[in-house]
């Protein structure tokens, strides 16, 4: 059973890969065709629920001028990922990263030292293997 989160992701993937705005019925058909877990037999009412949630989070915009309503993604996948990475790397201008990274900022000199260290340690490993 797919969770709501999985369905949201599946719907966004379809919208991101589509050039045109899609209706809920189009979306359901593409989800069925996509063969993803839990998306194969999803009902159109579920798709509409997911879409309104995504609209609430401002990931999806709805064109109400036509019947049926047409949906498209507000921002492309690549732009979202880039924004996320800016946040992660602390380069986003308006926000401090609210998360702890495995490796924080590294100065070029420090990176160079680490590369030398890596070279030395792999040589050491090789020589101790020979002994």
């Amino acid at each position: 059973m797919a969770t709501l989160g999985d369905l949201e992701r599946a719907v966004m993937d379809v919208l991101w890969s589509s050039d045109d705005a899609l209706s809920a019925n189009d979306l359901r058909d593409r989800l069925h065709a996509s063969d993803r877990d839990g998306a194969r037999d999803v009902a159109v009412t579920t798709v509409l629920t997911v879409l309104s949630r995504l609209e609430g989070k401002n990931f999806v915009s709805r064109d109400r001028s036509m019947r049926p309503h047409l949906y498209r993604s507000v921002t492309s996948r690549a732009e979202h990922t880039a924004g996320l990475m800016h946040e992660v790397l602390g380069t986003a201008p308006d926000r401090e990263a609210a998360l702890a990274r495995f490796i924080g900022s590294v100065s070029p000199a420090e990176a160079e030292t680490l590369r030398e260290l890596l070279g030395a340690s792999s040589r050491n490993a090789a020589s101790s293997n020979r002994q």
């Binding site: 998360l99 490796i103 900022s105 160079e112």
Partner: protein, 312 residues
């Protein structure tokens, strides 16, 4: 009261400047990061308490001989709109400073927490759309991006560890295990709570260099704590290699596109080097007696201003 106020003021000055400066330069914290983290928190709390306490006790001198009695007296005077005859501008000024300073610190803490939570939940909803769950690793997701990054996202209900495709392809299975164990430790030990407290302290006092130092020191200590847990899963060399690989790969990008900032903004410079050095040439952990002494000192630091305020 004047004596209490003077003692608290001395304590506040000591804890605001020489003590944290010495601690940030000391070598032993890397041998007992958890203990050092307790000491940092004790210094920050006791420092803030002494500072506010010094102003409060000085300001309350005209109102009575002990804290509770004097506070009751202040409330009465506030309602009546009068002042005791012995109260001068200095006392009133000290009371205002105490209230403003305490309010400033608490408000900043609340704002920092609220802002951080909002960013995290927005980030989490984006991550859930953009990343795929890692098979066989619950709570771990993989983000499709070439830069090697790993981080954790503490959440109210569900915490997530995020790895990028770049990181997964850079590291071998053992090194990846080390990274995941490291990030899990941040989440399990709730490091974000300590970090947010020190971040808010720094943002409340941006002109105060010690706050910056403290934030960096605490940031390094939680990394060391997480490294220590990762060392239980893999050997020291594997973890050190993973750190060095991610760190050097992160800056070695000819196009420099997303990672340009790493060259310009090395505020926490030295963190990675110190972590790696600690793994490659480990010093023995601090002795139990030394660790207990530090904990006793931490406890005493909190106890002294509290007792001074309450008892006298």
């Amino acid at each position: 009261m004047f004596f209490t106020s003077a003692v608290l003021a001395c304590l506040a000055v000591l804890l605001a400047w020489p003590v944290p400066l010495l601690l940030s330069r000391a070598q032993w914290p890397s041998r007992a990061p958890g203990t050092a983290l307790v000491l940092w928190q004790a210094i920050a709390l006791a420092g803030g308490l002494s500072m506010i306490g010094a102003f409060v006790t000085y300001g309350l001198i005209p109102f009575g001989p002990n804290l509770l009695g004097a506070l009751a007296e202040v409330t009465r005077h506030l309602f009546d709109g009068t002042l005791p005859s012995s109260a001068d501008l200095g006392h009133i000024f000290a009371l205002c400073i105490a209230v403003l300073f305490a309010g400033h610190l608490l408000l900043n803490l609340a704002l920092t927490i609220a802002r951080t939570e909002r960013q995290r939940s927005r980030h989490l909803s984006l991550i859930n759309l953009l990343s795929a769950p890692m098979p066989d690793r619950p709570g771990t997701r993989v983000l499709d991006h070439p830069a090697p990054v790993a981080y954790c996202l503490p959440g109210m209900s569900r915490s997530v560890t995020v790895l990028s495709e770049g990181l997964v392809s850079l590291l071998d299975a053992e090194q990846l295990r080390a990274v995941i164990a490291h990030e899990r430790t941040h989440l399990r030990q709730q490091h974000h709570i300590v970090l947010v407290a020190f971040k808010s302290w720094h943002s409340a006092l941006p002109w105060f260099p010690i706050a910056n130092r403290a934030e960096n020191a605490v940031g390094l200590l939680v990394e060391m704590l997480a490294d220590d847990q990762a060392r239980r899963v893999v050997d020291d060399n594997t973890l050190a290699t993973a750190i060095a690989l991610v760190a050097s790969e992160g800056t070695d990008r000819p196009d420099g596109s997303t990672l340009e900032h790493l060259h310009s903004r090395d505020t926490s410079s030295g963190v990675v080097g110190r972590r790696v050095e600690r793994l490659l040439s480990p010093h023995p952990p601090l002795s139990a007696s030394a660790r207990i002494s530090v904990l006793v000192v931490s406890f005493a630091l909190l106890l002294v201003p509290t007792l001074l305020l309450v008892v006298i």
